[in-house]
C-alpha cells in the first residue's frame, strides 16, 4: 500500500524514478484494460442477460447458458471446429518440422533463403485472399485441382461443396497459410543446436534417425510445444477462411464456433447467447493452453 502511495506522492529521487517507470507503462496498461479486460468482464456479465436486438436487457440467470449448451447447432459447430483442428494442427506442425529439417540441411545459404521465403510467403497474405485463391483452385468445373487430378485418372471432385471433403479442403488452406511461420520458428531453433552434439552422436555410431530422435527433437521440445499451442489457438478461432468461402456450408458441415458466434451476435443480434459462446471460447482456450503447457513441456534431457 505504502509503495503505491509513494508512486502517487513521491518523496525522494528514487520514488520519482519509480513513478516515472510506472507512467511509462501506464498507456499500455490502460489500453489493454479497456480493450481486453473490461470487455472480457462485460462479456461474462452479458452472458447472464437476455438481450433483445434493440438493446433492452433483463437478468436471465443461467438460462442463456442452458439455451446455448443444449442447442445441437452449437455442438455441431464445436464438433466441426474440433475436426478441422485435428486435421490442420498436426499436419501444419509435421510439415513445418519436415521443411525446417530439410532447409537446415541445405548448405548454400543463398538457396536456403530463397526456398525459405517461398514457404513463408503465404503468411503475409490475408486469410480472406488465401481462401479465395484456393476456392478458385478447388472450383469443381474450371478449377486447377480437378484438372491436375484428371491426369491421374481421378474423376472431378466437389471439394468445398462436398459434405465429406469440405473440412479437409479448408484445412489445407489453414496449413498453407501457417506452415511458413512455424517453419521459421523451427529453423531458428535448429540453428542454435551445437554441431558438437551431432558429432559426438556420430562418433557413437548413431544413425540419422537416432540423431533426429535423441538430439534434434528433444532440443526442439520447447518450440514444438509452443507451436502446437499457437496452432491450436489459431485453428480454434477459425473464421475468415470459412466465412470467405463456404459460409459454413454445405448444410452446416463447415459451421465453426466463431462463425456461429458472429451470426448470433451480428446477424441475429442476440448478444446474450453470443456472450455465452464468447465465454466458452475463452475458457476452452485457457484450459487447453494451460494443460498443454503442463503436459508437454518437459525439461530438456541430455
Amino acid at each position: 500500500m505504502r509503495a503505491w502511495y509513494r508512486l502517487v506522492f513521491p518523496r525522494s529521487y528514487l520514488d520519482r524514478r519509480k513513478r516515472a517507470g510506472f507512467l511509462f507503462v501506464l498507456p499500455a496498461l490502460c489500453f489493454f484494460g479497456f480493450v481486453y479486460l473490461l470487455p472480457l468482464a462485460q462479456s461474462v456479465a452479458y452472458s447472464f442477460y437476455k438481450i433483445a436486438p434493440g438493446g433492452a436487457r433483463e437478468f436471465a440467470g443461467l438460462s442463456r447458458y442452458e439455451k446455448v449448451l443444449t442447442d445441437s447447432t452449437f455442438w455441431t459447430a464445436v464438433g466441426n471446429t474440433v475436426q478441422l483442428l485435428l486435421l490442420s494442427v498436426p499436419a501444419t506442425v509435421v510439415c513445418a518440422l519436415a521443411v525446417a529439417l530439410g532447409l537446415d540441411r541445405i548448405a548454400s545459404l543463398k538457396w536456403r533463403n530463397v526456398w525459405a521465403s517461398m514457404y513463408f510467403l503465404p503468411f503475409a497474405t490475408s486469410l480472406v485472399a488465401a481462401a479465395l485463391i484456393w476456392q478458385w483452385i478447388y472450383e469443381p468445373v474450371y478449377g486447377f485441382l480437378n484438372y491436375a487430378l484428371s491426369f491421374a485418372g481421378i474423376a472431378p471432385q466437389k471439394w468445398l461443396q462436398s459434405l465429406a471433403q469440405v473440412k479437409p479442403s479448408i484445412a489445407v488452406v489453414s496449413v498453407w497459410v501457417r506452415v511458413g511461420f512455424d517453419t521459421m520458428i523451427f529453423l531458428a531453433a535448429l540453428q542454435t543446436i551445437p554441431e558438437e552434439y551431432y558429432e559426438a552422436a556420430r562418433m557413437d555410431g548413431a544413425g540419422a534417425w537416432q540423431r533426429l530422435r535423441y538430439i534434434t527433437l528433444p532440443m526442439l521440445n520447447a518450440q514444438i510445444v509452443m507451436v502446437c499451442i499457437l496452432e491450436l489457438i489459431f485453428n480454434f478461432k477459425i473464421f475468415d477462411q470459412v466465412y470467405a468461402t463456404t459460409q459454413g456450408g454445405p448444410a452446416g458441415a463447415s459451421q465453426t464456433i466463431i462463425m456461429l458466434l458472429y451470426d448470433t451476435a451480428f446477424k441475429y443480434f442476440r448478444f446474450g447467447e453470443a456472450s455465452v459462446m464468447a465465454v466458452f471460447v475463452f475458457v476452452t482456450l485457457m484450459v487447453i493452453t494451460v494443460l498443454q503447457w503442463r503436459l508437454l513441456r518437459k525439461p530438456v534431457e541430455y
Binding site: 496498461l29 470487455p39 462485460q42 462479456s43 532447409l103 521459421m184 473464421f239
Partner: protein, 272 residues
Amino acid sequence: MRHWRWMLTLAVACGAIVVFFPFFWMAVTSLKTAPEIQRVPLQIPPDHWLNFGNYVEVFKREPFLRYLANSALVASIAAASSVVVSSLAGFGFAKFRFPGRDVLFLAIVGILMVPFQSVVVPLYVWMNDLGLLDTYAGIVAPDLVSVFGVFLMRQAIEVIPDDYIDAARVDGGSELRIFFSVVLPSIKPAIATLLIVKFMWNWNEFFWPMVVTTSREMKVVTLGLMSFTNMYFIEYNLLTAAAVLSILPILVVFVLLQRWVVQAVVMSGLKG
C-alpha cells in the same frame, strides 16, 4: 551421401513450388478474360500476357482505390501508435523498478490467451455508444497496441547497457528526454520490425472491420475483396485481379524487408 543431399534439396524445392503455385495461379488467372477461364480443357497460360482488362474492371466495379487507401491508413495508424505505446511500456518494464511491475507484465502477456472474438460484443456495444461505428477511429481502436509489441520492445530495451542510461541521468536529462535521446536511437531494428509486422497484421485484418463498418466507403481491402464474391457465379478473373491488388503492396513490403519479419517471428518463437 551426395545423392541424398540432392534428393533433399529437390524435395524442399518441390514443396516450395507447390506452396508458391497458388500465387502463380492467381496472377495468371487475373490476366485471362471470362471466356478464357471457362475453357475445357483448362489452359494454363493466358492468351495475352499483358491483358490488364480485369484490373481496370476492378476499379470500375468497386471503389477499390478507396479500399486500398483505407487499409493503408488504418494499418499505418495502428503501426505507428503501437510503436509509440509499446516502446514507452518496454522502457518502463525493462529499466525501472516499481511495485507490481512483474505482475503487470505477466498480466499483459496473459492477454495473449484472450481471443479477440471473446471481447468483440462489448467492444461493438461501446463503439455504438460512442458513435464510432463506421469510422476510422472505430476500425483502428482495438488495434492501437499489441501484446507482441510490448514484449518485443521490452526485449530490445533490456539489452541497452544501464551505464548509457545512467550517464544521461547524470547529465541531468529527464526520464522522457532519456527515452528519446538514448533509448529510441538504440532500438531502431526493433522499431522497424514492429512497424512492418503490425502494418502487415492490420492490412490483413478482416473480422473486426467487418463488424464495425457498414458503408461502402469505409471498407478495408479484405472486405473489398469479398464484394467480388457476392454474385451467383463468381467472376474469378476479376476476383483474382482484386486479390493481386490486395496482396501486392504487402508482398512487396514483405519481400524487401523479410529480414525484419523473420526476426520478429523468431523472437516470438525462441522466447516463448
